[in-house]
Amino acid sequence: MGLSAKVDGCHVVAMPDGSRRGPRGCSAPEEFAAFFKQHRGVVFRTILAKTMDAAAAEDATAEAFVCAYAHWDDTVAAHPHPEAWVLKVAWNQHLSWWRAWGSRRAAEAPAPRWPAAQVPVDPQVLGAIRNLPRGQRDAFVLAALGELPPAQIAAVLGKAPGTVRAQLHRARARLRLVLGERISPEGRDD
């Protein structure tokens, strides 16, 4: 263990004077509760669409909100786009988790695991999202399920806003082709 320790996905940094810099907790539990209630579904669905793994999506959602709670006073409460912040944490949670356990997972699951049956979503929609190129899929998932505007998507993915807009446009065009014939003029067919 060096100067900085990672606890539940958050960094605690030991300063030279012996103090520690890091999360200061949450002094407004009600605000956090409201934030949590409003956004947990969005975060979960976004990560679910990215990973197609409900269990992993739940874990990433929980980790992200633990982080948001711990950093509420020092970061999230004053953040201009808290929902984008928590989505980014969840998104990267998943990535670092994937990286950390990559070798182990490779050993465990020889075939790529896409337990689509596990995700109770219209299989045609799932398949269409899955077949998008990764860049387009990431941008589209964050826009449609994360409900973020292109500028925030760019912040989450670390890309230029123009790139994200282009990818969104292509993703939508492609999905319109794949899902097209099942979309009536009004958009719903029930």
Binding site: D8, G41, F44, E58, R104, A144, R176
Partner: protein, 312 residues
């Protein structure tokens, strides 16, 4: 982000995808979030040195936040390894000293292990090594059987763990209480080595799986077969968990480790272990209950998968 104007202007593709995912909610609750943040924040407020004043200041800050102290997790239930307080400090008042005392002995699987046993085992004293084996072998075997699903391979793996442990014990500097976590850490590494070997063997000879070949040597053992069949439904359900959830459940339930030991084995906080166990068990229960009156998925996506979503 939920303003109506944007929903009006949204394109049909986005609406279609949103509708497909609507109603899916995670089984993550607010209590869990707050509880898991608590030990993490305590770590922050704990002073770096042994400055008593800073300690009390930190405690006061914690109480001001109120919520944090209120949700301090209850002591973990002991499944297998039980800390034996009597063997620690014979004359100490139990209530006052519980927090500070370093237990000098543990009782695992009915076998009491003291610090002296550990010291003797470090010198490779056969009797002490045997006691450690007696204490931890059943748990390790259950862990491997649950993880591999093959009794023979599990026995081999258990033996390998102890061979490695006896070899490395002189290098183990922890207390007796940490021995379980240490052994299971070795076990986990051996398990991944084993799986990697299996995968490689499967890639090279697709028809001849290592485990299958070992079984075929002298016909399947009927008891073994029954165990495998009975376990197969559980194994299928375990497959559906996330890797972290599965590991926590295997270590907690199959191997019977305490929350603290599992946390030490996996390098997680106890709060994280408890949360993973909770969610893993909930998911397992959902997977194992018989699929009663499944509604057509097109109408109400999500409902058939999560019957308890509305009640939580």
């Amino acid at each position: 982000m939920t303003d109506p104007a944007r929903h009006q202007s949204e394109d049909p593709v986005t609406r279609r995808v949103r509708e497909a995912f609507a109603e899916l909610e995670p089984s993550v609750e607010l209590d869990e979030i707050v509880e898991r943040a608590a030990p993490y924040l305590r770590r922050m407020t704990r002073p770096a040195g042994r400055d008593q004043q800073a300690a009390s200041r930190a405690r006061a800050g914690e109480q001001r936040r109120g919520r944090l102290t209120a949700v301090r997790p209850a002591p973990a239930p002991n499944l297998g390894g039980e800390v034996d307080p009597a063997a620690g400090q014979p004359g100490a008042a139990p209530a006052a000293a519980t927090a500070r005392r370093i237990p000098r002995a543990v009782t695992v699987g009915g076998v009491k292990l003291s610090a002296a046993d550990l010291a003797a085992a470090r010198r490779r004293d056969p009797e002490a090594v045997a006691r450690i084996y007696q204490a931890y072998a059943p748990g390790l075997l259950r862990f491997f059987v649950a993880a591999v699903g093959d009794r023979r391979a599990a026995e081999d793996l258990t033996a390998t763990v102890f061979a490695a442990a006896v070899e490395d014990l002189p290098g183990f500097r922890g207390e007796v209480t940490k021995l379980g976590g240490w052994l299971f850490r070795i076990a986990r590494h051996d398990l991944y080595d084993y799986r990697r070997r299996i995968v490689r063997a499967r890639a090279e000879h697709p028809d001849d799986v290592l485990g299958e070949a070992a079984l075929a040597e002298d016909g399947p053992d009927p008891q073994d077969l029954a165990e495998r069949l009975e376990g197969s439904r559980m194994m299928a359900a375990l497959e559906q968990l996330s890797t972290d959830q599965r590991e926590v459940l295997l270590l907690r339930l199959a191997a019977g480790l305490t929350v603290g030991e599992v946390a030490a084995t996996l390098g997680k906080t106890t709060g994280a272990v408890k949360a993973l166990q909770h969610r893993g068990l909930a998911r397992l229960a959902r997977k194992l209950e018989p699929p009663i009156d499944r509604e057509p998925q097109r109408d109400r996506p999500g409902r058939s998968e999560r019957p308890d979503a509305s009640s939580r």
